[in-house]
């Protein structure tokens, strides 16, 4: 036995995995909810109307960090971290917009959010295509995990309107998005985060099964 071999995760099986992941996802979204509320209180949604995605993400992450102790101090939040998956090194590594890691011994579980601004017709495509949702579905981001998140920074219209647009697009191309053709693809999330515009889509038929949590945050006055 060596230190290196020991430190490699031995994949175990646990019937509790689902419950623990649901709890982790709930905690992350509670943190997101508190961070967003804090952002609205300190800056106001109006101030975000014309900001670029990285700027809003930066503000949001700072606010989430400030709220961390109210949820779980063991969560570590990063803005735009490079990902070390796939053996890629240096600047060629992909970067995810927000990553929340559960700090602890061994391999640390993480939840990743990809964020997109929603303000023009083209935004829908950007949200759903290669740099957006598809990057989660193909495993370019969120490799090896069962849950990931999409954030829509709503800079025009209402979050509900954007949620409906996204849902329709997904519904229209179930095969392309790896959705189950026989089940409802879109459901309102319901946990202690109490996020108003948060939904889940389950994609069992993409490169690996994944549930994506879509949250639409109002970013205009």
């Amino acid at each position: 036995m060596t230190m290196t071999s020991q430190s490699r995760a031995v994949q175990k099986q646990s019937a509790n995995r689902g419950t623990f992941w649901d709890s982790f996802v709930a905690k992350v979204h509670l943190l997101l909810s508190l961070g967003y509320q804090h952002l609205c209180q300190t800056k106001g949604a109006m101030a975000l109307t014309s900001e670029e995605e990285p700027t809003i993400t930066g503000f949001l992450v700072t606010c989430m960090q400030e709220m961390k102790d109210r949820v779980d101090w063991r969560l570590f939040i990063e803005d735009d971290p490079p990902l070390n998956d796939d053996g890629r090194k240096g600047r060629s590594r992909p970067r995810i917009d927000i990553q929340v890691t559960k700090v602890g011994r061994g391999i640390q579980p993480r939840f990743q959010f990809e964020a997109k601004r929603l303000y023009t017709k083209k935004s829908e495509d950007k949200y759903l295509e290669d740099d957006g949702l598809q990057a989660l579905l193909t495993g370019y981001y969120a490799k090896g995990v069962r849950d990931a998140g999409m954030l829509g920074y709503v800079q025009q219209d209402t979050p509900d309107e954007w949620a409906e647009k996204i849902r329709k697009k997904l519904d229209a191309n179930r095969l392309g998005y790896g959705l189950d053709p026989s089940k409802d693809c879109w459901s309102q999330r319901n946990d202690e985060s109490n996020l108003e515009h948060s939904f889940s889509s389950h994609h069992p038929h993409c490169s690996r099964p994944i549930t994506v949590h879509h949250t639409f945050l109002l970013c205009h006055g």
């Binding site: 036995m1 230190m3 994949q11 649901d22 709890s23 905690k27 011994r105």
Partner: protein
């Protein structure tokens, strides 16, 4: 009963940990030793004898790279004599601690680490542990050697005393060589005394020749071909002429001379010298020819050089040579690497970068080649596996020539390394005398693979030959020495990397001592020239080696260097911050806690650093794996605790427990802060959070408070608040006062008649809150000479009110008296108006939190019982800065209570109330604190509560503090303190289970409606926790602690038995064994308090959450 039946009875046959001789190759690092043991029959001709197998500790029986620890050899012989012959050879191998031999009458059990020739001493002294065990008594007499007893550590607890380092081959042979050396260098009436260097060369040469002879490298046919009469080399008839002839042939054949002996000139040994040595090596007692009295009995008959592993012999050589100049070796910082440590490091390296066809290995400070020999062995084993058979001599030669390189300044060491590699090669050739391969030439390694050079010498042969080449493995134990004068070199000197001219003051030859060791000139120049790009702290040479090794690494290469553990923790952080930023650090194994047992004589705190070259665009360093073994977790070598005293055992193996492996953020390391590594050793992310949150809640530090007070204009003769190390007062009798003394000292008559603290008198006391009178001495006229160099600053803190803090951190006492604070102690003084705050401070410094904080912040604490420094004290959060008078009064009341609670007992003679002489003699006239006093314990509890309250510590944070100070700290520096290893009470188990449950439930979302049910079952040695995630409504009793033999615990006991069956050696390799089964989690641990603390429950909960999140769904 045949052997199979015996093995069956001991459950060896059913165990994957038992290797029958046909599978010896599976234990890679010991395969060569086991193979040699299989050839015992060749030497024992009178009857059939054979090693049949070996029982191992090994975590993964299916892995070839996995390290293992041999525990028991099993053998067969036809008689006691045959069994004794096997014992002798097993002892010479110095690897396996027990030997079980089946003979027709029964079984004999031996210690593999103790041996004396038959007829010398009792059975026990000879290493015979059981003279004869009848076949029907196997289980009753040999129960400690049953597979389960080895797996569960019972063998080591019950029979650990039989593994005695002092009787091991290496200790004994080294001791004998020392005695022989002393004998030869002693003046005798009948012969002259021999020069020490020549005596050592003579002994070294004879070991070498004896070894070659017994290994059949100097075979009878070879000697015959050379025409050498061996009886004139070994034995009483030895002649100088024949010995010289043999040496000449050997040197010519094996390419070079080691231990050259001056056979001519004043220093030359005489025939008498030669015969004395030769006789001893033949096993004869040296008998004075005139008196016929036996004068030197060294019992060399016990040694079978053909069984002593080469790596063991080369380490003995190196140790023996070092005896020649002990001080010199220490100055050079040469500490010899124990073989288990070498194997540990190489196994890790092989995991990081497996040996390949083109792997080139460099040891830049190779010494006698302990690392290189083991690397070479690994290469041979690898090649043999690939070729599925033995290697040809030319293949063996190619392996060493192509793969193995070393550098060392010491000529003898280089030659021993070359010899060891050559012998390793011959060890694998059959027949080893090479008579069957007449055209084969042994490689000439010196100057091509091994260089007697300074690694830092830019013009060395090494650099000229191999400069610019890269290596895939860089290994070694570089010298741990701090060089001087780096700062005094000017830049011209440092930049001058050409070899010094013959006219230079420090030319190489001048600087070299008689063993060919050069001065530190090159590394000094190197450090100076690279002081900004490759900084080292304290001019530590090992750090320079680490930097320079990186330059020689290939892009994918990996280095494993043994460095002083303090490099990771010392105050100066420039090396750490730059080095960890510029290399890719993979792992750090910190052996500080094993230092007392891992090393002989000198006890350095060592750490192994594993690193490679940094990736091209290093934006986010990867996590670093760390491992800091505690002695308590080394089941094989953990000392027994009997009463207050513990008997330490030498570490003969290192077993790696998964529960001690941590990950440290690579980014955190690049800051150079030592805290992340200290946390990995003793703490957790929770401790890190605690320190951060206290710093946030209480931003004023003690140093900040002192500074603030200093800024005030106090007027009059009030002293500003000041913290300082004390002053160095010297005593000079009137007749000793010279102008030199006066020039270096100030006489301070104002101190005459004043009290000075005498801290030595407080050594044995625990926490004290008032000084006994014996703590002082009254200063006389001769005692008040102050060293000018130290300055007078320390005098200010002699003025009351003040707090006096022990440098060893054994006391912090408030006083209203003028007391001179001696050097290495600390004083904190302030104006009278700060009196209450200083009282509060004195109590605070005695609190658990202050000790906890200092433990993590002080460089030394946690490594050794560290001293307190002003810097560390200054970093303490100071929660009293703005406390009102009213609140300070509460602290003053508590202090009063502490002082009142102290008169408990008298120590020493009770003083005569009328006698002032008694006081001057240092008898106690003040009460001594009884640390067990109930009232004091109550007060300390109150103190810790008040400190917790004032700092705003949460309940969990208080557990972290209490558990470290009251329990974990008893394991520092290899201690096995009772508070840490005693079994926990049922109440403590209950608390653990409760915290674990609460913590896990806090993570689970309420929406799930699920909660944990916790059951703990325990016996005397271990306990198992069962966690079941169930619907909250169905849980009747959330936590239950049961004895394993309780009827209600039967089902759980079955699970525990199954868990042990599946991972029989868990105690050695994972002392926090987790098993997931459906919705249940099982956790198995030893029943020692340190594993059942509330803070441990928090860490276990974190681990279970992380592992569950990383798990797969049940299929």
């Amino acid at each position: 009963m045949d052997l199979s039946a015996v093995l069956n009875e001991l459950s060896y046959l059913q165990s994957p940990s038992f290797l029958p001789r046909e599978r010896f190759d599976e234990a890679t690092e010991h395969a060569h030793v086991f193979r040699r043991a299989c050839r015992i029959q060749e030497d024992v001709t009178q009857e059939r004898v054979a090693i049949r197998g070996v029982y191992l500790l090994r975590e993964d029986p299916n892995s070839r790279t996995s390290t293992s620890t041999p525990v028991v050899y099993v053998a067969e012989a036809e008689s006691i004599r045959g069994a004794d012959e096997i014992h002798k050879r097993v002892w010479n191998q110095d690897i396996v601690p027990f030997l079980l031999v089946r003979i027709p009458e029964g079984l004999r059990l031996y210690s593999g680490f103790t041996y004396k020739e038959p007829g010398q001493g009792t059975d026990k002294q000879r290493g015979v542990l059981e003279a004869l065990v009848k076949f029907d008594e196997v289980l009753s007499c040999l129960g400690d050697w049953h597979a389960s007893a080895i797996d569960e550590g019972r063998l080591f607890r019950a029979r650990g005393a039989d593994i005695d380092a002092k009787t091991r081959l290496d200790w004994k042979l080294l001791g004998n060589l020392e005695k022989l050396g002393q004998w030869l260098t002693r003046e005798k009436p009948e012969r002259k005394k021999l020069d020490r260097h020549v005596a050592n060369a003579l002994i070294g040469k004879f070991i070498y020749l004896k070894y070659l002879h017994e290994r059949d490298i100097l075979s009878a046919r070879k000697l015959e071909r050379w025409g050498v009469d061996i009886s004139k080399v070994f034995g009483r008839k030895a002649t100088i002429q024949e010995t010289r002839r043999l040496i000449k042939f050997v040197d010519c054949w094996l390419n070079g001379s080691i231990f050259p002996i001056p056979f001519a000139g004043d220093l030359a040994p005489t025939t008498d010298h030669l015969r004395e040595v030769a006789s001893v090596f033949m096993g004869d007692d040296y008998v004075d020819p005139d008196t016929e009295v036996r004068q030197l009995h060294l019992d060399f008959k016990a040694y079978c050089f053909s069984y002593i592993p080469i790596e063991t012999l080369s380490v003995i050589y190196e140790q023996f040579l070092s005896l020649e100049g002990k001080a010199k070796q220490r100055d050079r910082g040469a500490y010899y690497t124990p073989i288990p440590l070498v194997n540990f490091m190489l196994a890790e390296l092989e995991e990081l970068h497996p040996l390949g066809d083109d792997t080139r290995v460099l040891d830049p400070s190779c010494g006698s080649g302990a690392f290189l020999v083991q690397c070479y062995r690994r290469l041979i084993e690898r090649e043999m596996r690939q070729k599925n058979g033995r290697l040809r001599p030319s293949e063996l030669r190619d392996l060493v020539v192509r793969h193995i390189f070393g550098v060392d300044r010491d000529r003898d060491a280089c030659h021993v390394a070359a010899m060891s590699l050559a012998l390793t090669m011959l060890d694998n050739i059959d027949p080893p005398d090479l008579e069957s391969s007449p055209t084969f030439k042994l490689p000439s390694l010196i100057g091509k693979n091994l260089f007697q050079d300074d690694f830092f010498d830019p013009s060395s042969t090494f650099r000229q030959s191999l400069g610019g080449q890269k290596f895939d493995w860089i290994v070694g134990n570089p010298p741990w020495v701090e060089v001087k004068h780096v700062d005094t070199l000017d830049d011209d000197e440092a930049d001058d990397e050409d070899p010094p001219d013959a006219d230079d003051d420090v030319a190489d030859d001048d600087a070299a001592d008689d063993s060919g060791v050069a001065s530190d000139e090159h590394v000094t120049r190197w450090m100076h020239a690279r002081r900004t790009t490759h900084p080292v702290n304290g001019n530590q040479v090992a750090e320079a080696f680490a930097w320079e090794a990186n330059e020689f690494l290939s892009t994918s290469g990996k280095a494993a260097l043994l460095i002083p553990a303090m490099t990771l923790f010392k105050q100066g952080k420039t090396f750490r911050s730059r080095f960890f930023s510029q290399v890719s650090t993979h792992a750090i194994a910190n052996f500080a806690n094993l230092r007392m047992d891992l090393f002989r004589k000198v006890k350095p705190a060592a750490a192994a650093l594993f690193f490679g070259q940094k990736a091209v665009s290093p934006e986010r360093p990867e996590d670093v794996i760390t491992y800091s073994p505690l002695l308590i977790n080394q089941e094989t070598t953990r000392p027994d605790v009997q009463g207050a005293r513990t008997k330490r055992r030498e570490t003969w193996t290192i077993t790696l427990s998964a529960s001690e492996i941590r990950r440290v953020s690579g980014r955190a390391l690049t800051t150079g802060e030592s805290l992340p590594l200290k946390m990995a050793m003793w703490g957790s992310p929770r401790d890190e959070m605690l320190l951060q949150s206290v710093a946030k809640r209480c931003p004023t530090k003690l140093s900040g408070y002192a500074k603030r007070m200093r800024g005030r204009d106090l007027g009059g003769d009030s002293y500003a608040c000041k913290s300082s190390a004390g002053i160095e007062l010297k005593t000079f009798a009137p007749n000793a006062i010279t102008h030199v003394v006066l020039a270096a000292h100030d006489h301070l008559p104002e101190l005459i008649g004043k009290k000075a603290l005498f801290p030595k008198s407080l050594d044995d006391l625990n926490r004290i809150y008032a000084f006994p009178n014996s703590a002082f001495r009254v200063l006389g006229q001769d005692d008040v000479y102050l060293r000018k160099r130290g300055g007078k600053a320390g005098l200010e803190v002699a003025h009351p009110p003040h707090v006096l803090v022990g440098g060893a951190r054994n006391f912090a006492v408030f006083s209203d008296e003028f007391i001179v604070v001696p050097s290495r102690q600390i004083g904190i003084a302030g104006p009278t108006e700060e009196r209450k705050r200083l009282i509060a401070l004195s109590l605070y410094l005695n609190s658990d939190f202050a000790q906890y904080y200092e433990f993590f912040m002080s460089p030394q604490q946690g490594i050794r019982e560290g001293r307190s420094t002003l810097n560390t004290l200054g970093e303490l959060p100071f929660p009293f800065a703005d406390l009102s008078d009213e609140k300070l009064a509460l602290w003053e009341d508590l202090h009063r209570a502490f002082v009142a609670a102290t008169p408990v007992r008298w120590v020493g003679a009770e003083p005569d109330a009328d006698s002032t002489q008694g006081k001057q003699m240092g008898l106690f006239d003040a009460p001594v604190v009884d640390k067990d006093s109930e009232s004091l314990l109550v007060l300390e509890k109150k103190l810790n509560e008040m400190v917790g309250d004032i700092l705003g510590l949460t309940e969990m944070e208080r557990w972290l503090v209490e558990d470290l100070v009251r329990v974990r700290r008893h394991l520092v520096d290899g201690a096995v303190g009772k508070p840490a290893i005693e079994p926990p009470s049922v109440e403590e188990l209950q608390q653990y289970a409760d915290v674990l449950r609460r913590e896990l439930d806090a993570f689970i979302t309420e929406a799930a409606g699920l909660r944990h049910e916790v059951r703990v079952i325990h016996d005397e040695h271990s306990a198992m926790v069962q966690l079941d995630l169930r619907p909250a409504k169905q849980i009747k009793r959330a936590v239950d602690v049961l004895r394993a033999d309780a009827p209600v615990a039967r089902k759980l006991a079955d699970v525990r038995a199954k868990m042990v069956r599946e991972t029989p050696q868990w105690l050695h390799f994972d002392r926090n064994l987790l098993l997931y089964e459906g919705s249940k989690v099982f956790l198995l641990k030893p029943l020692q308090r340190v594993h059942w603390l509330r803070s441990q429950a928090l860490m276990d909960a974190d681990e279970i959450i992380t592992e569950t999140l990383n798990a797969e769904d049940v299929t």
